[in-house]
């Protein structure tokens, strides 16, 4: 994967299971279902152009709110939960590379987020667009959402190595920076993960709320931020005080 760090299969399975086990998953799954509600209501009423409605759903609800929140909570839990309960020590007292552990944790949380988010997003798109649904109108928003999720998962993995409250910090970032400041101070979008996700999404849908950035640039920024966060987290794991 990154810098030759291989995914550690047993840790991947363990983390995925741990993230999907419990009541929190149920709450997040319900949250992930939220975009389906306006889609169904809209399909019943049918007063706005479906293409515009789907574009708004993707850029104002799915990527910046629902996916961001689910990815932050899951991403922060992959390492944060084990740090809180001490089980991280079993993984750290092994010869496995720290980078490999973090890469594995991030991929597992990304998988969990994708499993929760993808089906409702696809359903919402199909219901909204109806006969106007095309692969591009569904898959580009999906790609934007999933790439933003990867970035959120990596950054919150790092947050969980430097803070005891990674979820709180992550949610505050979504609410205050991405959800508020970046909406009136346009350049703040440059530090918004969701904004780069929207840039990729608008390759397939009408642009209603995306910054003026080329999609390849957005892709590079998301990948680079994820890689830097993963590196930093691996560094912290070797140096920080473990519980």
């Amino acid at each position: 994967m990154i810098g030759g760090a291989a995914v550690i299969a047993p840790v991947y399975r363990l983390t995925l299971r741990s993230l999907l086990d419990g009541r929190r998953t149920l709450a997040l799954a319900l949250l992930a279902l939220v975009p389906v509600i306006p889609a169904v209501v809209f399909a019943a009423a049918g007063e706005i152009d479906p293409e515009i409605f789907w574009a708004r759903l993707v850029q104002r609800l799915i990527i910046p709110t629902v996916a961001a929140f689910v990815a932050v909570v899951i991403g922060a839990s992959a390492i944060g939960d084990e740090r809180d309960d001490g089980t991280i020590l079993y993984l750290l007292s092994t010869p496995q590379s720290r980078l490999g552990l973090v890469v594995t944790k991030v991929l597992a949380s990304w998988t969990a987020a994708a499993l929760l988010l993808t089906p409702p997003a696809v359903v919402a798109g199909l219901v909204t667009l109806g006969s106007e649904a095309t692969p591009g109108r569904i898959l580009w928003p999906l790609a934007g959402m999933l790439l933003a999720c990867l970035c959120y998962c990596a950054v919150t993995a790092w947050l969980s190595t430097v803070s005891r409250r990674p979820v709180v910090i992550g949610v505050l970032y979504i609410l205050l920076w991405e959800g508020s400041i970046a909406t009136f101070a346009a350049s703040a979008d440059r530090l918004s993960i969701a904004a780069y996700g929207r840039v990729i999404a608008v390759e397939g849908v009408i642009d209603v709320n995306a910054p003026e950035t080329a999609a390849p640039v957005a892709l590079i920024v998301l990948a680079a931020v994820a890689a830097i966060a993963i590196r930093a987290a691996a560094r912290r794991l070797t140096r920080s005080e473990m519980p």
Partner: protein, 312 residues
């Protein structure tokens, strides 16, 4: 003795203004060594430093010849049962021990898990999820995962916690066996007689200082020989009794405390044997005789002062 498995060289560890460990040096070779100290004495900090979970603020820690924070390779040869009651509730005991063994590079992790679980007497519960495990069962799972990869060095933080007497006996025997096999075992406890049962050698920590180290029996004698304060409550003839005890050289000092006598004796055995006779001779009736400061805290305080006194 071969090269030491574990070396602390003038190791200190502080957290802000709090000193958890102050200038501690020791080396450990094969066999069982106890790490004794009250809660908060620095035992867990010392074990965390050994395990590479934290770094010294000053000084050096070498584990099996390497610095664990530089390279985690040595974890193949180290087994750790840490102080956190941590486990994955949805895994079975067997799955967890096998997972730990696999991650530490064991060729056949399932066989290793079966062997380790048998060693701690958990074969019967091996395939149950740990969600419903008692404290004692979880403690033994922690021990099993520390053993499964056949490590040379074992770091066990309070391994007898939560165990019933029969399980304690079994774990004590297991620890003896591990030492006899030539492994280096460092086992912490805050209970002296537990350490006595487990380890022929002991390191005693008080307030972050290493105040005594050596054979457990020698430390035991040191503790037994310390001057003791005894509180006597005579109903009558208190002053005569005090005079006679000092006169006979049975006590070094006497203080009066609200009708009771506080006497200090350097030879508690002799004092105990002689007390009844002296009291009878002077016609004093004793209502109560009780040692003062015989709890472990004061034992540690004594060791601490003694260590400072000899300029350690």
């Amino acid at each position: 003795m071969s090269a030491p498995s574990l070396t602390f060289d003038n190791v200190s560890r502080w957290y802000g203004d709090t000193v958890a460990l102050a200038d501690v040096s020791f080396t450990l070779g094969p066999g069982v060594t106890g790490l004794l100290g009250h809660n908060g004495a620095g035992k867990s900090t010392a074990l965390k430093l050994c395990a590479g979970f934290t770094r010294p603020s000053s000084g050096t820690v070498r584990v099996l010849g390497s610095d664990l924070s530089d390279s985690p390779e040595a974890y193949r040869r180290i087994g750790i049962s840490h102080d956190r009651d941590a486990f994955w509730p949805f895994l079975t005991a067997r799955a967890m021990v096998a997972l730990c063994a696999r991650l530490r590079g064991v060729a056949d992790p399932d066989a290793a898990a079966a062997r380790a679980l048998a060693q701690v007497g958990l074969e019967d519960a091996a395939d149950r999820r740990m969600r419903g495990f008692s404290h004692g069962m979880r403690q033994r799972v922690k021990l099993a995962q520390a053993l499964a990869h056949d490590p040379e060095l074992l770091l066990l933080d309070e391994p007898l916690n939560g165990l019933d007497p029969a399980q304690r006996r079994a774990v004590v025997e297991l620890i003896h066996r591990l030492g006899d096999e030539g492994r280096t075992v460092l086992v912490s406890s805050h209970v002296l007689h537990e350490v006595e049962r487990m380890a022929p050698r002991v390191l005693v920590l008080v307030n972050g200082h290493l105040v005594a180290s050596g054979a457990t029996t020698a430390i035991r004698e040191l503790i037994a020989d310390r001057p003791r304060v005894i509180r006597l409550e005579p109903a009558t003839e208190g002053r005569a009794l005090a005079r006679e005890l000092v006169g006979a050289g049975l006590v070094e000092s006497v203080r009066f405390d609200d009708g009771a006598l506080l006497v200090e004796s350097g030879d508690i055995e002799r004092f105990s044997r002689a007390l009844a006779g002296v009291a009878r001779d002077v016609g004093a009736r004793l209502r109560r005789v009780e040692p003062v400061g015989d709890d472990l805290e004061s034992v540690y305080a004594y060791l601490h002062e003694r260590a400072r006194g000899v300029g350690r």
